[in-house]
C-alpha cells in the first residue's frame, strides 16, 4: 500500500513486477470503490525518445518509457485514463514521435496528450497534431473538468522568423540552458479559448489543468516558467478547487497560489537539477516543495519515474513511483489548504540530506 521502497528492495520489486502484482493500490478503502468521485489516473511524461539513426534509438530513454508503461498497466484499481505530459521526442522528428507512440500503445487505458517544446519546434507541432489531434482541449470526467493547454508557445515573431531549417529552431529550444532561449507562453488565443471554455463550467466543479511548463514562475533561465502565468491563473481563480499538473521540470515541485494547487511530474528519461543548484542566478522554488535528492547516475533510473493520481477529494493526491528511489506521495492537505508531502512536509527532516 504505497509503501516506500528503497534501492535494496529493487531486486525484490523486479521479481514482483515479473509476477504482475506491483503493489500500487489506491486509497479506495476510505472512500469506497463504488464512490463515483473516487477515481485515479496515471501520468507519464518527458520520455525524450531520441533517434540515433534508422531504427536505433537511445536505449536509456526507451527503457524509462517502457518501464513506466509496464508499471502503469499493473495499477490496481485500473486508472480511468492516462495522461502523457509532453516531450515524447527529443528533437520532434516523426521517427521519434512514432517510436514513442509505439511504446505508449502498450498502455491498456485511453491516453490524453500534452504538447512539449521538444515535440513542437521542428515543425510547429504539425506531425504531433497529425498523430494526436488538437494541442488544447477539454473534457469532463466523473464530475471533474479537465483542460489541456499548449503552454510552450513563444513570441510569434521568433517562431516565424526565417529559419533555414525547422531543426535549427528546434535546437535552440531543445537546449534547456540556452542563453538565447525564448520564454514559454500560452498566448492570447488560447487564453481566450480557456475563458470561453471555463465560462460554461460551474465554479464548484473541480478543475484540473494540464500544461507542459509550470503555469507559475520558478526559473526563467530554464523555462521553469510561463510568461503569461498570472493571466492564466486569473482565469482559474473563480473556481473553488483548481489544480495545475505539469511536466517539463523533470523533478518534484508543488505549490499553492490562492485556490490553485500546482503539482509537477517526474520524467521517465532523466532528472533535471533544482534551479538553485545554478549558483550564478536567482530562482524562485516554491517554499512548500520538499526537494528530492540529486540523482545517482550509477543507477540509470534514479530520480526518474511516473505517477498515479487520485481525485477523490476534487484535489489531487499525487503518488510518485520512483524506481531506484523511495517513492513519494504529495497529497492535498485539506486542513492546511495546500499539497503536502505525506512523509516529509511536517517533519524537521529533509527528504534526503546529502547533495
Amino acid at each position: 500500500m504505497n509503501k516506500p521502497f528503497s534501492r535494496r528492495d529493487f531486486l525484490k520489486r523486479t521479481a514482483v513486477v515479473a509476477a504482475g502484482a506491483l503493489p500500487l493500490t489506491n486509497i479506495e478503502i476510505a472512500f469506497g470503490k463504488n464512490n463515483p468521485k473516487n477515481f485515479n489516473f496515471a501520468y507519464i511524461s518527458d520520455s525524450h525518445i531520441t533517434q540515433i539513426k534508422g531504427n536505433k534509438f537511445v536505449r536509456n530513454w526507451d527503457r524509462g518509457l517502457i518501464r513506466a508503461v509496464a508499471e502503469t498497466n499493473l495499477l490496481d484499481p485500473k486508472p480511468d485514463f492516462v495522461f502523457y505530459g509532453g516531450d515524447i521526442a527529443q528533437l520532434g522528428k516523426p521517427a521519434e514521435i512514432d517510436h514513442g507512440l509505439e511504446i505508449l500503445s502498450g498502455l491498456n487505458a485511453k491516453t490524453h496528450y500534452v504538447m512539449g517544446e521538444h515535440d513542437y519546434y521542428v515543425d510547429l507541432g504539425d506531425y504531433w497534431q497529425k498523430q494526436l489531434g488538437a494541442d488544447h482541449y477539454s473534457f469532463d470526467h466523473k464530475g471533474v473538468h479537465f483542460v489541456v493547454l499548449n503552454s510552450i508557445l513563444t513570441y510569434e515573431k521568433w517562431m516565424h522568423q526565417k529559419w533555414d531549417k525547422g531543426m535549427d529552431r528546434m535546437k535552440q529550444m531543445a537546449r534547456l540552458d540556452n542563453p538565447h532561449g525564448q520564454p514559454f507562453m500560452v498566448g492570447e488565443a488560447q487564453r481566450k479559448w480557456l475563458q470561453d471554455d471555463l465560462s460554461k463550467i460551474s465554479k464548484d466543479t473541480p478543475l484540473v489543468v494540464f500544461s507542459h511548463s509550470p503555469l507559475q514562475k520558478i526559473y526563467k533561465g530554464w523555462n521553469f516558467w510561463t510568461d503569461d502565468a498570472e493571466q492564466v491563473q486569473a482565469l482559474l481563480k473563480p473556481f473553488d478547487k483548481a489544480t495545475v499538473i505539469y511536466g517539463h521540470v523533470h523533478q518534484i515541485q508543488y505549490n499553492q497560489i490562492g485556490n490553485i494547487s500546482f503539482n509537477s511530474a517526474m520524467a521517465t528519461a532523466w532528472p533535471w537539477p533544482y534551479p538553485k543548484s545554478y549558483v550564478q542566478k536567482d530562482s524562485y522554488m516554491p517554499k512548500l516543495t520538499v526537494e528530492m535528492n540529486r540523482a545517482d547516475p550509477f543507477f540509470e533510473r534514479d530520480a526518474t519515474g511516473w505517477q498515479f493520481i487520485n481525485m477523490h477529494t476534487g484535489n489531487v493526491d499525487l503518488n510518485y513511483v520512483l524506481p531506484d528511489n523511495t517513492n513519494r506521495i504529495v497529497a492535498f492537505d485539506s486542513k492546511a489548504g495546500h499539497p503536502a508531502d505525506k512523509d516529509f512536509q511536517y517533519k524537521q527532516t529533509v527528504a534526503q540530506d546529502h547533495y
Binding site: N60, P273, V279, A295
Partner: protein, 134 residues
C-alpha cells in the same frame, strides 16, 4: 634594422616582461590576455558540453547538467563511492562519457577535457572548495 639589433631589442623586451611578471603587479594587458585565453577555453568547453563530443548516441552532458549544475566540482577529489576510490573530476567526467553517452573516454590532458572542466568550474565560480564532501 639589422638582425643583431632586433634580437637585442626582443631580448630586452623579454627581460623586462619577465621581470615585471615575476616581481611586480601583473599588468592590465597580462590579465586581459590570460583571462581571454581562459574564457576562450571555457567557451570551447561550453560547446563540447552541449553536444560537441561526437559520441554516437548523441546524448550530451547538458541534458542532465544544464549550466553544468549537479556536478559539484568543488567536492573533487573525493571518495567516489561508486568507483570505490578517491577520484578527480576528470575521471567522473569520463565515467559519464562512457556510460550515459556511450562514448570513448578522453585523456585527462585532452584539450576537450581541459575545456569541459574549465566550463564546469566557471559555472560554479564563487562556491567554496569542499574536497571530499558528499
Amino acid at each position: 634594422m639589422n638582425k643583431t639589433l632586433s634580437t637585442i631589442s626582443v631580448l630586452a623586451m623579454t627581460l623586462s616582461f619577465s621581470h615585471t611578471s615575476q616581481a611586480d603587479n601583473f599588468t592590465e594587458a597580462d590579465l586581459k590576455h590570460w583571462n581571454d585565453e581562459f574564457m576562450s577555453v571555457v567557451d570551447h568547453g561550453e560547446a563540447v558540453f552541449h553536444g560537441g563530443l561526437k559520441n554516437e548516441n548523441t546524448v550530451s552532458c547538458d541534458q542532465c547538467h544544464p549550466n553544468a549544475t549537479n556536478i559539484h566540482p568543488e567536492t573533487y577529489p573525493k571518495f567516489q563511492q561508486q568507483l570505490g576510490k578517491v577520484a578527480v573530476l576528470g575521471e567522473m567526467i569520463n565515467w559519464c562519457i562512457m556510460n550515459p553517452l556511450e562514448g570513448e573516454p578522453l585523456a585527462l590532458d585532452d584539450p576537450d577535457m581541459t575545456a569541459i572542466q574549465s566550463y564546469i568550474h566557471y559555472e560554479r565560480r564563487g562556491v567554496k572548495l569542499a574536497p571530499g564532501k558528499h
